[in-house]
Structure formats: structure tokens, C-alpha cells
Symmetry: D2
Subunit: 354 residues, 4 copies
């Protein structure tokens, strides 16, 4: 039944619904003595915050983080860290008219069928609002990874619809509301979002995630492999429908003589593997791609049924993102940070017995 | 450290190396009263067995399964099931010459760096031979799923190199050594394998997995979602580099009005989601794709280093598959069966409180 | 590292320190559709609340519970339940003078040595204040157990110092501040506490826990046995030093012909086992005893060292209970409730497949 | 459902029934590079082996251990270790006559009620024969603890019936079949066992467990405390009915000024706590006591019912120990070793970041 924890040595457990009182999480296993401030977390939350640009949902949430425990004199104590964000701008009345309807593409149907009862306000627990706490926990993991290992996790928008952003100007990513690394694509992206808004429609996206300075040796085969745990963590994000490691689906048409990454005295000569072999990090850059589906929360009417089986037309009101792929970028980074943090702690015996 | 278990309520733990004494597993959480025979398991093992056709490795292993516990009078007792397969045809001397070398594309490098020491014979634990026990455990899960829910899991080769097998003649899958659903593609596949053998090279593959009769309601959001657990289980298979659920990467260029699966009184009208919404099964067919990399175990020489850092040329001897994607098909089915079994048990409260 | 969760299907994770902002927990795995109110929890919290009588610590905390998630329209939704209690009356300045000292009998020494750094205010995480959230989570478990199975968990003070309370007038337990079942012992208990206060000393206690209406079949041998999980949960309470199941230590001098509980058509004729055989509940009353050590927080001076190794005299100020065994009673009940709840959910397949 | 694993970073999973083919286990999380031989395990197994003296059961089992994986060139590889012992001397026909009866004091009733079906031969999974694998896994943990930390775990018979063995001549323990530290009590013990055999009865026992050289800092509060995990592990042994840490039940009548262990520059002056404070090891000796019930497998007739509810007389045949407390001594040591091993690995970050 329980399913709201991730990680083993570094374990994140979250709670909270879209229109409930608050969102919160407990971070258990954080080492002591690490300096963390609310600002460290807030700055990451601000990156995914709704209402931060007109490309995303108009819901305005301050997402003000509060650290409730696990800290003393500015440093972590090794005890669990409790985090809280209050919900402010929840217009629950928007949802009364859909309380008995199943919005296509949403989890309304499956939650109703599983639990026999559901909080229909804004999708309840199935709302992407839940990811606030993923980002908050990820911020703490990122800080540790940065301080102790100089690990850098960077995700960006690599495709939206048919607009491919393949430049790798990583410095530009945080300087535009699309998290796009290619300055030349901003106009096209802007136009696409405007068009979708007019059409009351949405679009999918591809996100690329790169991780530098990963120590060699992370991952616990054969089931708790690093790649498997990353796949789990990324697929647990709402709207993710596909994951690639390294060359991903391109391997189908590759030959072994091409794909295997040869080695010389300077290290690996290529990185088709994406930084993991046998489920263990090689020390190279970790390379991942994910695909985000277009949000189903659009104002274009469609067909559905109510929970009594009657056919009805539905228009999803509320305030939503035309491309959830944009705001998913800090979320994807956070999930990667949480997994790496967990595996660093799990690997500590080997890390120190070198 | 520990990482060789998968599942929570139905938990599979495996051991064994390519050239060790034996491979084994413990299946913990199997309900009592289910009729299981060694033949149920053996027939699945035979599907992945090496040496079964000239399209796969020439290593000949009987893979004779032995049930050691958990059964009485032909039925499961609810206690853990111990399974054992002895290794027979291990020519360990093939590997002496590579004991200090890192075969590119293999886990030699990462195991050496992580553990400081490794069983170099045939890749040791990182060998695909480990998957024997995944298939054995999967056979038991499949039997339960079939008896109790009539769940049918079917995987097939949907692409090898650039040969796409898109016919869906599922009955044909088990009638050819490629697990290919399209009779018209057998000649091309045969030619491709022959060519690769001559070239001493290998090729990647795409596998499609379909699951029918899945009950609605499986999956425990937000982290132990069914899609996330499937991604974990599939990515834990050696050589898997990518996973798609439903429309997968195609969603990048889809609009929300297209992707969302509308509903009428007969149920969902389409299945772009691949049978899960919000991480919970919808009751529709589950649709998954995975990409398998080309094996690195080829006899074409390449560059590498030894564990002392010296540059050397290496030729991987031993007996290997030109396309590991073929034998991975029963393995993929097994991992899906194990995950579904686990989630059915985890969901039992709701299953029965309807 | 992570160690602040208990349970598998019903999992409780807590955070919070004695003098931090707040205490909180996440209850994951709670079935949907169960009516729960803040009053259900508050009434249990009030039973363990400090300042409720002059027999316990004078620290005054309202311990006002707030449910933050997992509820809708008065019923659980099946999603995680977030709970919060703010700390109000924390006089942290009481602790400045001991910030570098190790109070004998407390966890100051071990926290300092383990984490290299500690929140010294009131013991930080090692304070019994952490148990607020055990009681809150236990209240929710108790409600489910009561509604669905009519399970009744009752703990009482069975001994304090050499005062044995062996009457079993269970109705009287909640009518006196000692949770004592024997009206004739109140005067002695009162006198003992007064004497201890004068002596600036404390005393140990024995608590007996009885559980009625437990379904037969709970427990997952051989490691997740019900008795083993109960022992784990009870020993995790601060100050518990011993646990007995059924006849406990008396079995050392019992013969097999006496101890084994014979059966006739009306069921078991005796209950030496304490309601479990082979780690599985028999359906009889579960009988447990625990021993609580005398609190070390007393104002009698003693010898210790500071964290630099210098010998010093120490007097523990702050406000403390002369017998922590009194307030531990609702805590013990809660831990038993949490374990039973977890095992009921874990056993659901068998519960329903009868 | 699954319940046959113990430990998190060092995880032991077992299988096997009294009269099945074999007993086995998987040890997952064992660090690499540790020299282990089958003799290391065999010598521990021989200490608990049935038929080793006339004070224990006459069942004769060689309990010949076989290591199947996880080793290479005499050292552990970091991959899971598979262990196997075949059952040899199982006289299953002894049990045909009790196949429908519930032996009082055994788990027959609870297994039947839980699983609806049971392997009645020798108690099946509920037999103490299952503990062979606990001792095998414990032997491996002990070896690591000895080599890396010089940790020494010593258990002995401290009481049988009313014979108290309070001398602490630990060197004598392994020199007599009772694991008794007091040479003066051998005659009394011998006489008691002979008398019980004549009476066809059995007796309980108390075992004391001492652990030297435990590093300070082991244990993960607030639930995965070291004392709580030890209580769990010890209570999971068949026939254990009570556990004490340090002064145990004696604390009920102790005062705080007596119990708290004062500290001076040479360390703790006393050890009432039993080597743990706040659930974390202090570095002092760990002191534990457990009580073992008298075995119910005696040939004295008693009353029971069959699985159809009919009242019957039953005599338990088979070959059994008059005092299971004797053979439980190496088992208790093993469980403690497994828990310490797990906590050492879980604590590695702090161990190395000192």
C-alpha cells in the first residue's frame, strides 16, 4: 500500500495534494554537519514555481519553504529533515463541476477505481503540484553532491513539438523561461506556446539530463543498478512516458563494434553507454533523456463518462501549463540528485575502502 | 550495499555468476495453494536457454531447474521457494587471458573499480547468465497471474537493426527462434545474423511487451507507481538502454487533444497512455517498448587498457549471441510478471474491498 | 543511514526534535474511506501530554494536532497523511550550560560520537518528545483496527518500583493519572512519586499490554514474525529495556508439559504463549510486558565529562517526569497498533482468500 | 507477504523446511575482498548441529555447507553469496499420523489457519531446522566483524530450569555440550536433562549474550535503533519469549541515580545500559539476555483438536531436544552478528567521516 518513499539510505517521503492544506516531506538519512539554508531550497523551488512566466500555469503560489527539523545552528544534525510548503492560491470551486467526471488523460479514473473515493480538487494527490517536495528534497541532495563531490546536474529542454534545441550552451539554460540551451530557438518556442494557448491545446517535450563529476562505482547490481534506479525515479514523475540512457533507442540500429566505448590511457574514448556499465557508474558524464507527454488539462472539450457510466462532454478548467515539459526540468534534476545521493551513501563502504 | 532483491510483497532475490557453481533464487511472498511444477519453470527457461538455436550463443547449458522448498504435494505452501540451476558448460579457461583487461562495453571496468577485485570468468555476476533466475521467478509469477487473473504477458522482437517486425501475429512468436511476430521477416533476420557472424559483430534490438487482462488499480503513487516499477525492473536487465510506456518518445510531438485517451460507455477509445494513468493501471492493455544494445562480446579486436593502465588490444573470445535482444524476450516478460505479481499483492486490500 | 520509518505496508515516518519548530509524521498506506478526525488523534495525544498532572513533567505543551493531507470530506483518501504539532513551551536556555556536557544515561554521548555534532537542547531528536508522533500515528491505526476488526489495545502500569498493580480492573485505567488498574494502589503510587520528587530521583516501571480480537494469521515468518516486529517496535521506545511475550522470563523454569497451551473444541485452554505461535497470531489475546528504566533526567548531581574529555559535575535541569513509565503507556499502545495495522495489510491476501 | 529477509545493507534471506530437499540462504551486501572458507561456516554449524551430543535431538544431520556463489579465489567478490545445506536424515513418515492434528505449543495451528494448507512434516518451515541458515549467515558476519573490528560475540547458557550458571569462565563455554560457563554446574545440568528424558518432558533456559569491541555510533534512531533491531532479530528465533538489554527487568525497581552510568575520563564507570544509549552503541560491552521456552515436542500425551475440530489425544514423536536453549546459543550469536554487520555497513559514512 505504502508507496510515497524513494531511496534506501537517503529516503524521501512526501505528502500533500493540489488543494490541501500543505505539501510536505521528510528527508531521512541526510548526513550531519552540512550547511543548508531555506534559500538553498527556495531558489530551486522558484525554478519550478507556477506563475513565474506566461509560458506556464497562472496559478500563483509563493511556495515558501519552511524547514521544521533536522537542522541546528545552520547545519544538518543527521536527524530527519521535515519540510513544509503551504498551499495558498487554490481555487477549489473550479473543480466542483468535474467532481463526478473522469478527465481523459488524468488519473481521475484510476484513483476512483483504486481507492473508491477521491479528492477531485485539482487532481488531488495525482496533481503535478506534488512535485514541489521532490524539488525541495532534490535541492538538499544537490547541495551535498556539490559540496562533497562537486557533482553538477543539469537538465534542459532539448525538444518541444518539432523544435529541437540541440545547441549545448548550458550557461544559457537558466537565463530563459524555457530552460532552453539554444538562444536561436526562443522565438520559435514562444510562437509555439502562443499558438497552443489560442488553440487551447498542449504539446509534449523532451528533456536531456547531464551529470558531471559522478564518482565511479555507484550502483548495486543486479536490481538496484544505478540506471534502473534512475529509470524508476524519472518514470515516477507525472507525464514522463519514456527514458533513454546514453544512446537510448538509437542502439537498436547500432553495431557492437560501434557502441562499445573503447578505452585508452586517458579513459573512455566515447560515451555511448551514458556513463554506466553493468548498472555501475563509470565516472563519465551521465546522459539521460526523458519524454514528457502533452498535458491533458486543456480547455478543448472532449468525450468522457461520469463515475456512474454516463457519457458526457468535458472541458478542463483550472490554470495549466501548455507544456509541462518546461517546469519538469528542475523536477528531473531533483530526482537524479535524490538517486545519486542515495547511491553515494549506499556505496560508502567501497568509497572509503579504496 | 545489498541490491539483489526486487519487489516488496513478492520479493525475488538472486545469486550466481556466469562460471560459478550454480545460480539460484529465493521467491518470498508467493501465496499458498498454487499448483507449480518444475515443468512450468523449465518450459520458460528453455525459451531463453543458450544453445537452443544457431542464432544465439553456442554455450550449451541444460539449465535444469530444481525446486528446493516452498512446495508440498504439488502446491505452494506460502513459505519461500528456493530454486537452483547448476552451471555445467563453463569453459573458464577462455577467460584467463583477459583477467587483467577491461573488455569495452562490459562491466569489467566498473566491477573492478567498485569492488577492487572481480571474478573475471565470463563477466562473473555481470553476465547475462544471471537472468536465468529472473526467468525462473517470472515463470512462477506468470503461473499465478494466469490462474488467478488470466493475465497474459507477451513480448516479441519488434525491430533488429533496421528490420522492423510490425505485424502482430502473436501466435507466430513462439514458433520461430527470433520471437518475431512477422513470418515475412524471418529471411531478413536470418541473413542479418549470418552477416553479423561473418563480420564478428553484433546488433541492437527493440522488444515490445504487451499485457492483457491487467486489473484496474495496480500501482502505489507517487513513487511506487506501476510505470515506475516497470521501468526499474526492465532497466535492470543487462543491455537495456531505453524504455517507452504507451506512445513513448512519440509524445514529444503530440498534442494534448490527441494524446489524452477519451472515454465512452464502452471504455477508453484509444490507448496512447499504454494502460496506466497517474501510475495506476487502467485495465487496458499495458504497452511497453525496450531497446537492447548490441552485445560488446564480439571477436572484432578493439582498444582498451589493463587494470594497471597499460593500453592493449583485446579480442573477446567465449561464445556469445550476435543479438542479445532475442534471448532477452522471455527475460523482459519475466520482469513484467514479477512487477505485476508484486503490485497485485500490494493492492490486495483494495482488490477485496470493492 | 535512514532509520525513521517503521512498517512496510503501513509505514510511519517521523521527524522533529524536543526544541525544534515542530514535530511531524507521514502515515503512508492508510486505506481510503476511513472516517478520521483531528479529535480522534487529539484525545490520544492528551493521554500522553506533558503537564497533564503533577506526576509528570511540568513542561506545558498543547500538542495541538493538525492533519495536513490524505483526508477529504472527513474520510481518508488512501494518499499519505501528513500530521503536524508545533512546539510551544521550549525553554531552550535551560540547556545552554550543558551544551558541551554528556548527561549520564542520556543519548548525548552517543549522538555526539555518531554525528560529530548535536542539537543539545532538551536532547534534540533523542528526547521522548519525539513520541508525540508515535501516538498520533497510533491513534489513526487504532481507529482502523477498532472500526474494521473491533481490536482493542489496552496498556497499563503493572509495577512501579516495588508497587505491583496486579488487579485487572481495566475500566479504571483511564480514570487515574497513573494508568493503574488497581484503585487500592493509588495512595502508594502517589506517595512514591512525592518521595522521589523530594529526593530529586526517579524510578522504573513495568507496563503490561493486552490486545483483544486479533485475527488469527497475522505475522510473516521467519523474520517478519508478529512477535519479532512487536519486539522491534516496543524496544524502539525510549527507556524500554526489556520485553516479554506471554509468560516471558518465567518460561526459563517451566516444563514443556506445562507451557504448551492445550486445545479443545472451545479453543486454547490456556495462553502461556501470549497469543502467538511460530510468530503468527493465534486469535487469542496478545499479552506483552515491557520494562521502562528510570529517567536519567534528575536534579541529583553526578559525574560526567565534557566533550573535550574533562571531568565535571552535572545537574540535569529542565522539567522531567519522575517515572517515564506513566506517560509511556499510550506510546506502547500506539506502537502495538502500528505493528498490527501493518500486519493486517500485509496479510490481506490470506484474510480475503479464506 | 514476504518476510524471510533480515537486514538492509547486509541482507540475509533464507528458505527451507525441516523435511524438504535443502535449506539455503542468500547473503546480499557482503563487502568484497574478505577471505571466507566453507570451514569458517562449517565450524559454526557444527556447534548447533543436531545429534552432536546426547543432550540434544538424535536426528543426525551432517549439515554440510556448500558455498555456491559470491566467492572467487578464496575471497568474497561483493556479489551475493548463495549457501546450501541438503537435508539428509528426514524421517517424514514419523509425521503422517499428525498431519491433521495441531500439536499444542507448535505453529501447526497458526500455519494451517494462515496459509490454509501446510507441510506437516516436522513442522515444515516453522521447525527450528530453519536456523541452520541463520548460523551459516552469522558465521560470515562474524568473520568480517572479527577481521575488521575484532568484535567478539559470545553467548552462553546462564540458566536452565532453576540451575543458574553465573560464573563467567567464558573459555569453558565451548568445552562442554551445554555452552555453560560454570564447570561446577555440569553435573546438575546433566542430571536435569536425564530426568527430563525419563519424564518425557522439557525445560526452558536463559541465554546471555556479550559483545566486545563494538564501535561507538552503531544504530539509526528513532526506529532502526540498534537495541530495537537486536530485539527484532532475537525475538525472530523460534522459542524466544523475552529479551533484556543491560539490566533489563531489574530497572523496574531501580532509581535514576543508580541506573544512569556515570562517566569519568576513563569512560563509563558502570554498564547498566547494556552498551547502548538512545539506541546507539556506546562502545561498551553489549549485554543481552533472552528466555527460551521449553520445547513442546515431548512424548507426554496431551489434548488437542484436529483440523476438523475434533478433540484428540496427541503424542509428539520425532526426535527432539529436552532443552532447545542449548542449541539456540550459536543461533543467538548469529543473529547478533547479522544485526551488527548490517549496522556497521549502514553507519559507514559516519565511520569514515570522523
Amino acid at each position: 500500500m505504502a508507496g510515497n518513499s524513494i531511496g534506501q539510505s537517503f529516503r524521501v517521503t512526501t505528502f500533500g495534494e493540489s488543494h490541501g492544506e500543505a505539501l510536505g516531506c521528510i528527508i531521512d538519512g541526510m548526513p550531519s554537519g552540512i550547511p543548508i539554508t531555506e534559500d538553498d531550497i527556495q531558489s530551486e523551488l522558484n525554478r519550478r514555481r507556477p506563475g513565474s512566466s506566461h509560458y506556464t500555469t497562472k496559478r500563483r503560489e509563493l511556495d515558501k519553504i519552511k524547514i521544521l527539523s533536522g537542522m541546528f545552528q545552520g547545519k544538518t544534525t543527521g536527524t530527519p529533515i521535515g519540510l513544509l510548503v503551504k498551499n495558498e492560491d487554490h481555487r477549489s470551486q473550479d473543480y466542483n463541476q468535474i467532481k463526478d467526471l473522469f478527465r481523459p488523460g488524468h488519473a481521475d479514473y484510476t484513483y476512483q477505481k483504486k481507492y473508491g473515493f477521491r479528492d477531485y480538487r485539482g487532481g488531488g494527490r495525482s496533481s503535478a503540484r506534488e512535485t514541489v517536495m521532490r524539488v525541495a528534497a532534490g535541492a538538499i541532495a544537490k547541495k551535498f553532491l556539490k559540496i562533497k563531490y562537486n557533482i553538477q546536474i543539469c537538465a534542459y529542454l532539448s525538444q518541444m513539438g518539432d523544435i529541437v534545441c540541440d545547441s549545448k550552451n548550458l550557461d544559457f539554460i537558466d537565463k530563459n523561461p524555457f530552460f532552453c540551451p539554444d538562444p536561436d530557438k526562443l522565438d520559435s518556442l514562444d510562437l509555439l506556446i502562443r499558438t497552443l494557448k489560442k488553440e487551447k491545446d498542449s504539446i509534449g517535450a523532451k528533456i536531456r539530463i547531464l551529470v558531471k563529476n559522478v564518482p565511479v562505482g555507484l550502483g548495486e547490481p543486479v536490481f538496484d543498478r544505478l540506471d534502473a534506479d534512475l529509470a524508476h525515479a524519472l518514470m515516477s514523475i507525472n507525464a514522463v512516458k519514456a527514458i533513454e540512457v546514453g544512446d537510448g533507442f538509437a542502439v537498436i540500429n547500432q553495431k557492437g563494434s560501434f557502441h562499445r566505448d573503447e578505452i585508452d590511457k586517458n579513459g573512455f574514448k566515447t560515451n555511448h553507454s551514458g556513463g554506466m556499465l553493468g548498472g555501475i557508474s563509470t565516472g563519465q558524464e551521465i546522459i539521460l533523456n526523458i519524454a514528457m507527454k502533452p498535458t491533458s488539462s486543456i480547455q478543448k472539450p472532449c468525450n468522457t463518462i461520469d463515475r456512474f457510466g454516463n457519457e458526457v462532454k468535458i472541458i478542463t478548467k483550472g490554470r495549466h501549463d501548455p507544456c509541462v515539459g518546461i517546469r519538469a526540468i528542475p523536477i528531473a534534476e531533483s530526482m537524479v540528485a535524490i538517486v545519486l545521493m542515495d547511491h553515494i551513501l549506499r556505496n560508502y563502504y567501497y568509497h572509503e575502502n579504496k
